[in-house]
Subunit: 453 residues, 2 copies
């Protein structure tokens, strides 16, 4: 039999700490600002909707944060996740590159999202909270939180964007199977929902408002977010830490790490442990953040203070943004349709530690189908963007005649996205246009805030 | 951290041979008979639609059959599959039993089916065949064969039961993503299909006829079957062999092995390596075959010679049957809706080596939802039947106050079956009735054939 293809770790190798990149981040650190006062946000401002355990993580300057045993106990149901050497893909791409992918689709929810959902459920349970409220678009995050809450006997209330609720009933059923209650948003359960009754299709912005309102209005209910924030990126670093060990088993170290970026937590989770090595040891690994050309936050956005949500309830965060009320075209990679990016990741791009690359969705699906036919796994539309960028790296390695090591974050499977594959195979997938004019106009509506340097 | 939950094997532990139980089977061996002459079927009778490599396996009396390197190379993409100790489930069931499940849902197609699809594609490729034709109902087998053919650059033509083709477009898209051509059956591509134009919903029987006709009419096209036959059960024994090693890692040996049975290949694959130990070493492990109460072949059927397909094209096989033209009620476990069972497995039940148990589908889904909420994985409707039977075993262990070791075959996930969960959660899932009268009438239409002892 040929050389190793799959690199597995025993469950004793599940990381014992999360990697907090904050103390190592280069550049000046701009704090999040209160939306009304524009003063730096303090723990008390967040305490209405987050438990103190997570607030401490959000602002911690400790480089390592212990993972509670109760969380590692749950991680063991699917972690450590496998890393594969894509030998069959290397052959069809005819590249000297060594291509590895870290596969998070083995989690019960089918993506990396449960890594943080479980942690957030635990810290809320510990704080005596009874229920978590959240929003979901296509349903990946909602199902992860439903799963996480189930493990800790927390109620879970999900506001699902109306049009997704109608078009993706199976994601809703998945959440219900794990015990969550799912509301079509806009609902008549909240002031925010009732005020938006004239937008029956809903939007992520409206759903966030409904979830935040639900949490803020109840002592035993908190809010939970699936990306962007520091503590969310933190929880995902189990991915990169395992990857480090698995590449060590393979006797390799990456020349380039590639992942897809919506809010940024998936790529942060994969890359931050490697980024820290780069920063501390002067290594030269490249980091490529792949984003949809229809929502090119990192490649075309402005580096400014902006709200995290559409309606402006959240703190102002320093990040690349297309404007908080920019509405991305409806590309199939629902998880990448976000106007901003995690502040930590935005800062790394700003400082030149990370590169960003915009990918057309037809090119992404073309890569995904080629990948599926040799490696078997059908990728989610989001990591399909990372695959496209990785294929380009493999091509480049071939031109250079170099045995470069490429590590790809394969963040989830596409079992609930087959309609997108159907459109692609039928030649009906469109490369939706990013509207520079819409962005310009959205940027004009950015809140007044200090400039970022 | 608590004791081990997950038992993983390195890829070097993928079995090097398949376990052939035939030479160890107790009782007299009744040969398959030619449908026209009722003479024992010889290799030449099968050569029109199967390659000699598989025909040899079908009749081999060698106890071990080597797995070609090319097949093991593909197995490595997902094998060895994980075995989990269901500690969280044990706690909620409050049972002293030790519950283990072997999970085949990590394969790209989401079930155990690729274990044989890849092997069948390989032996056909080796024989110079260019295309495989097959039928599929709900789509599990068709997607596995599409995947298998893709790995060996074989064309794959799938006749999909009309009503499934209309209701389960995502399984069709999955097959197409892997490169297969999918026809709605009855089609106008075959004589069999054209003759059934008045049954536009189609049936598995019609789809089999279309696939067999396609294979028989072309020199470079063969037919491929996803269960029942000896060589299919054989290929699945990688499951049980890995399970033996994994339980050894856990320091345990099963008191009872539980799996679901439609055509029988999944449970054969899990159990035969253990059955052989029982037979050779006089062990007393129990084997429980869980089948749907709506299609109770093993618990209510007759042990007789019957056709494998509805219209009577296949050899006559000795097995438990409800009659080849018995139409099982449309339970959600599409993979368990089969009138017969693998001859080898039927023989084991007849000889008392295996037990069979009929399970109502509401009871199966109740077990599946409880399982999903503590173990995370959402089971397919088929293994949900095995879970129900295993829960009963755990209950029995509790009554007896014994630390029994229960091994469950969790043959696949339910990502493409969420409509069934939706019906269950809404209280709309029916326990469809097995019609004894229909069976009686179907048994009256059994072919004339020698009696079985």
């Amino acid at each position: 039999m040929a050389e190793a293809t799959k690199f597995l770790l025993p469950e004793s190798e599940i990381p014992e700490t999360w990697v907090n990149l904050l103390p190592d981040l280069p550049g000046t650190r701009a704090p999040p600002l209160h939306p009304a006062t524009q003063e730096p946000v303090g723990p008390d401002d967040l305490a209405a909707i987050f438990p103190m355990g997570l607030i401490e993580q959000e602002v911690s300057t400790e480089p390592e944060i212990p993972i509670p045993d109760e969380v590692r106990e749950i991680y063991r149901l699917w972690r450590p996740t496998p890393m594969h050497r894509a030998r069959r893909l290397e052959r069809v791409l005819d590249t000297p590159a060594h291509i590895y992918y870290k596969y998070e689709g083995v989690s019960p929810a089918g993506s990396h999202k449960p890594n943080t959902a479980v942690a957030q459920a635990f810290f809320n349970k510990q704080a005596g909270i009874k229920k978590l409220a959240t929003e979901t678009g296509a349903g990946q995050w909602g199902s992860a939180l439903a799963l996480g809450c189930g493990f800790f006997d927390l109620e879970c209330e999900v506001f699902m964007v109306g049009i997704s609720y109608d078009q993706k009933p199976y994601r809703r059923v998945m959440m219900e199977t794990w015990g969550a209650t799912v509301h079509r948003s806009p609902s008549d359960l909240t002031e925010a929902g009732r005020s938006q009754a004239e937008h029956p299709s809903g939007s992520l912005g409206i759903a966030i408002s409904e979830a935040v309102e639900t949490a803020a209005g109840s002592d035993d209910t908190n809010y939970s977010l699936g990306s962007v924030l520091n503590h969310v990126c933190l929880h995902q670093t189990v991915i990169g830490q395992e990857s480090l060990k698995q590449l060590e088993l393979a006797g390799e170290y990456p020349d380039v790490v590639v992942g897809c970026v919506g809010g940024g937590s998936n790529f942060a989770g994969l890359s931050y442990p490697f980024v820290r090595r780069n920063l501390r040891d002067g290594l030269e690994t490249r980091f490529v953040a792949a984003e949809p050309a229809a929502c090119p936050t990192l490649t075309r956005g402005a580096y400014r203070y902006d709200f995290g949500d559409t309606v402006g309830l959240t703190p102002l965060m320093p990040m690349y943004t297309l404007g908080h009320d920019f509405v991305p075209p409806p590309v199939h990679a629902g998880g990448l349709r976000y106007h901003g990016d995690a502040p930590s990741l935005s800062g790394l791009v700003k400082e030149g530690v990370m590169e960003a690359k915009a990918v057309l969705q037809t090119a992404a699906f073309d890569a995904a189908v080629r990948f599926a036919r040799v490696e078997g796994i059908i990728p989610g539309p989001e990591p399909a963007h990372a695959l496209r960028a990785a294929f380009d790296e493999a091509e480049e390695a071939k031109r250079a005649g170099e045995e470069r090591v490429i590590l790809i974050g394969l963040s989830g499977h596409g079992h609930f996205d087959m309609s997108a594959y159907e459109a692609f195979l039928a030649g009906e997938l469109e490369d939706l246009e990013f509207s520079e004019a819409d962005m310009e106009s959205a940027l004009e509506r950015l809140p007044e805030a200090p400039a970022l340097t």
